[in-house]
Amino acid sequence: MRAPSATDIAAGEVILAVDNVSLSFGGVKALTDVSFDIKKGEVRAIIGPNGAGKTSMLNCINGFYHPTEGRITFKGETRPKMRPHEAAAGGIARTFQNVALFKGMSTLDNIMAGRTLKMNRSFFWHILRYGPAMDEEIAHRRFVEEIIDFLEIQHIRKTPVGKLPYGLQKRVELGRALAMEPEVLLLDEPMAGMNLEEKEDMCRFIIDVSNQYGTTIALIEHDMGVVMDLSDRVVVLEYGRKIADGTPDEVKRDQRVIDAYLGVGH
């Protein structure tokens, strides 16, 4: 796999900043005055009890929701009404809490779908499957095969994803997100519903993505062990407000976090 397209932002600098973001649906406040930043190359976790606003936060970042107040700056640019496809074109990819794949399509086709944005030839050429379109298809197929190799899913290359166990579907979804060569990868509970072995595999893939491609990763996760092992920094939400932000160790010691979420013993 090639490295994602380079930007001027060096590793360790802020690539995405969330400033005083609030989000409400009618009278319900999902997020209240939340601010944090994501630095290039880091693994950033967003944790919090159920209904704390974690998924809403991700939805704001990739333009699915628009904050009622505050702003989100991505690569130095603030776009108040960014649409999801613009976010995707800008280099933000995501996976979903409940796997959102094309169930009837094979693993290969699902991941190929993630390359759509990178296709330059017109629809017309692709219908013909001829000339430059064919070359392009081959190049993309190669890229997708590298992802398949990377995620060790060669054996299910041609299996319809609807027939796959949940853990593998999650892996395919990660593959589709990677196919976009994202600069920022948003993972919504990548390990929900997995058994121990699947979780360990997924952790390894996340670490490998981060190490090998320098992809910035923001993830929501419930498994505390996973969060503490994987992430560089953690932001904690409760009832739509940020209650803590720091390294896993700092967060673990924070009394408000312990009270709100981690409970006793952690």
């Binding site: 190799d149 060669q154 054996h155 360990e200 190490n211």
Partner: protein
């Protein structure tokens, strides 16, 4: 008894692998030598290309300081670069030491420490991590070379190199005529009598032993094996068995070099079936387990098939059962049956063989353990020339094999070319052949115990020649054939194999030595029993729960009863019927030391580990309780608790006549 035929162009001048490679690069220059499926595409290397890859790597190894006699560990699955590294190491007179890639770090450390490996060529990060975790035990290990760079970018590279990097170093060295000359001289200096490879046997008892095989051992055996079955350079094989296993070394390396055929490396361990289908292997080798799995999967799928398909399948499998073997053995068969078989071939056998990837199969071997007669006959009836072979690491595999047309489910065949056999007074099989090993590394005592001064090797297996067929029959490990307190013969493996032939039963451990009666532990087969549970709406939360399920126990009781009945028909074995048994709450696992890396049960170890259960089997209790420690693949440990039911069996009166005793 031996007939020496001319093994094609291979002569005494090509008595080492690097020399054979040079020969192949000329005689088979443009023929495929190796394929590897990568990124979804089969990539092919010709013999000329392999020779170049090996040479670059060899020169690179020279730069890293590899010397004659140095041992180099090879750890990983079947990948081209790992096979190439063997020939590259041998070019300098070094000795490759393949290690089981699924060994835990401690086992790996033992082998590398014992072999004093100065370098290691490994597959990926997983293996590098294992080596690093035990690096303080490996003072000799100077360099680690890896194939797959993924995840290794941030590691300390002072003593670690990517495979390509070493080849690059080699290509630079190729600019210096002195260095090229040094390599050529090293290759020329190699002799047939030199140590070629060291293979650590998995060892059902104690620590693994390093079996030293010379070039002559391996090359002559590979050549003779090829002659036995008329193999040529057009064979296609798939390499998927552990590199550390002598079989893989012979079939995927030595024989390929001697005969010039192409070895195909699968994309991953999970894709072997699919890859085999794409390649269409003509020469195959697998332990019985692989064939068992194929059959179980087929049967499980047929259970889910539509009624028409099921009827068709059952009908034609019936036809195949009756006539298939006879047709394969070229016996006279009536025309009507031939026609029926031909229709079956079109509708059932052909598609099935295609699924198995065995459409083009000419010779298929099963070895390592006894295969269930049902399984064996099933494959043969489809027209697959599956045969049995008896081999050992110490013999460079070949001891006996079944010649085409002389196939019996319960024998292991006739001596291979140049192999002499005799049966000792205690029933132990002894052999002598050109493949007989040099000795155990750093263990002259064990060597002397196993190998006599005039070259006979004690196989450790008890067997006899079947007077009807002249074939060898193996009963059990010689030291395992014991007696009950009553004096009745107790051959645990014989009983275990009878039980294991039921698809529901994965593993069996029988006890009885110096006891009043025979008892056993069973392990259910999760695939078969799980599928049964699904079909019958039996819900279960865990392996443990399924293993203890009432209906499962009932089925297993029926199996044990059937085995007892069949034992009762054999006067020799009738006294060893199973009186009590239990179903274990966990799967026996190599990581816990309960199986060897080649998946054989370690009876003694299990008896000790499950002492409370063994006692419960003999003290008349209705249930047995135990706590056992389990090791996960990453080395962490956990505790599994079990409370299992013990089932009493009725013993059948011994009925068989005494004719079998005459056969002994």
């Amino acid at each position: 008894m031996a007939h020496h035929a001319d093994a094609r162009a291979v002569t005494g001048a090509h008595d080492t692998f690097p020399k054979l490679l040079e020969l192949n690069a000329v005689r088979f220059a443009a023929r495929p030598a190796m394929r590897h499926k990568d990124l979804g595409i089969w990539r092919t290397w010709t013999w000329a290309e392999v020779a170049r890859e090996v040479r670059d790597f060899a020169l690179g190894l020279g730069e890293l300081g590899l010397k004659r006699g140095d041992k180099v560990a090879i750890v990983g699955r079947n990948r081209p670069k790992l096979y190439w590294s063997m020939a590259a190491i041998q070019s300098w007179g070094g000795v490759p030491v393949p290690v089981y890639s699924d060994s835990v770090a401690d086992e790996m450390a033992y082998v590398l420490e014992h072999a004093e490996a100065s370098m290691a060529v490994v597959e990926d990060q997983e293996q590098v991590d294992k080596l690093l975790s035990v690096s303080e035990r490996l003072p000799h290990l100077a360099h680690v070379i890896y194939d797959e760079p993924r995840g290794l970018r941030d590691y300390d590279h002072s003593r670690m190199h990517a495979f390509e990097e070493v080849q690059e170093i080699g290509r630079k060295a190729a600019g210096d005529p002195a260095k090229v000359k040094a390599l050529d001289e090293a290759i020329a200096l190699g002799k047939g009598a030199d140590l070629a490879i060291m293979l650590y046997t998995s060892g059902t008892t104690g620590r693994p032993k390093g079996v030293m095989l010379s070039n002559d051992n391996v090359i002559v055996s590979a050549k003779n094996g090829g002659l036995f079955d008329g193999l040529t350079e057009t064979e296609e094989t798939i390499a998927y068995l552990p590199l550390a296993w002598v079989g893989d070394n012979i079939f995927s390396y030595a024989q390929s070099y001697v005969l010039g055929f192409c070895v195909n490396c699968p994309e991953s361990a999970e894709t072997v079936m699919e890859d085999r289908r794409e390649i269409g292997t003509s020469y195959a080798f697998a332990p019985p387990r692989v064939y068992e799995n194929l059959l179980t999967q087929t049967m499980v799928r047929m259970e889910d098939a539509g009624p028409l398909q099921k009827k068709m399948f059952d009908y034609f499998i019936g036809v195949a059962k009756e006539w298939g073997e006879k047709i394969l053995n070229k016996e006279p068969v009536p025309l009507g049956a031939r026609l029926q078989y031909a229709v079956g071939e079109m509708l059932v056998y052909g598609p099935l063989k295609n699924r198995f990837g065995l459409t083009n199969i000419r010779v298929g071997y099963t070895a390592g353990e006894a295969i269930g007669p049902e399984i064996f006959k099933f494959f043969r009836s489809l027209g697959i020339n599956l045969k049995q072979l008896y081999g050992q690491t110490e013999a460079s595999v070949y001891i006996t094999a079944q010649p085409d047309g002389e196939i019996y489910a319960d024998t292991v065949g006739k001596p291979n070319i140049d192999v002499e056999l005799k049966i000792d007074d205690n029933g132990e099989v002894l052999y002598r052949s050109p493949g007989v090993f040099l000795g155990y590394y750093k263990d002259p005592e064990k060597t002397a115990e196993t190998k006599t001064a005039d070259g006979w090797v004690r196989s450790g297996d008890a067997g006899f020649f079947d007077p009807k067929t002249g074939h060898l029959k193996i009963i059990d490990r010689a030291k395992d054939v014991g007696k009950l307190r009553s004096g009745a013969l107790f051959a645990p493996k014989y009983i275990e194999n009878k039980l294991k032939f039921y698809p529901n039963i994965k593993e069996v451990v029988a006890f009885g030595q110096d006891r009043d009666f025979v008892t056993c532990f069973l392990n259910i087969d999760l695939t078969a029993v799980g599928s049964w549970a699904e079909r019958n709406n039996v819900s279960y939360g865990s392996y443990q729960e399924l293993a203890g399920h009432r209906d499962v126990l009932k089925t297993l009781t029926a199996h044990v009863d059937a085995v007892n009945r069949s034992l009762a028909e054999e006067p020799l074995m009738g006294g060893a019927q199973i009186r009590r048994f239990l179903v274990l709450h966990k799967e026996l696992d190599a990581d816990d030391g309960e199986l060897t890396r080649t998946q054989k049960v370690r009876r003694g170890f299990i008896a000790e580990r499950y002492m409370p259960l063994v006692e419960a089997l003999y003290d008349g209790s209705k249930r047995g309780r135990i706590r056992t420690e389990v090791t996960f693949e990453d080395g962490r440990k956990g505790i599994i608790e079990g409370d299992v039911e013990i089932i009493d069996m009725t013993v059948h009166p011994v009925t068989g006549s005494a004719f079998k005793e005459a056969a002994e």
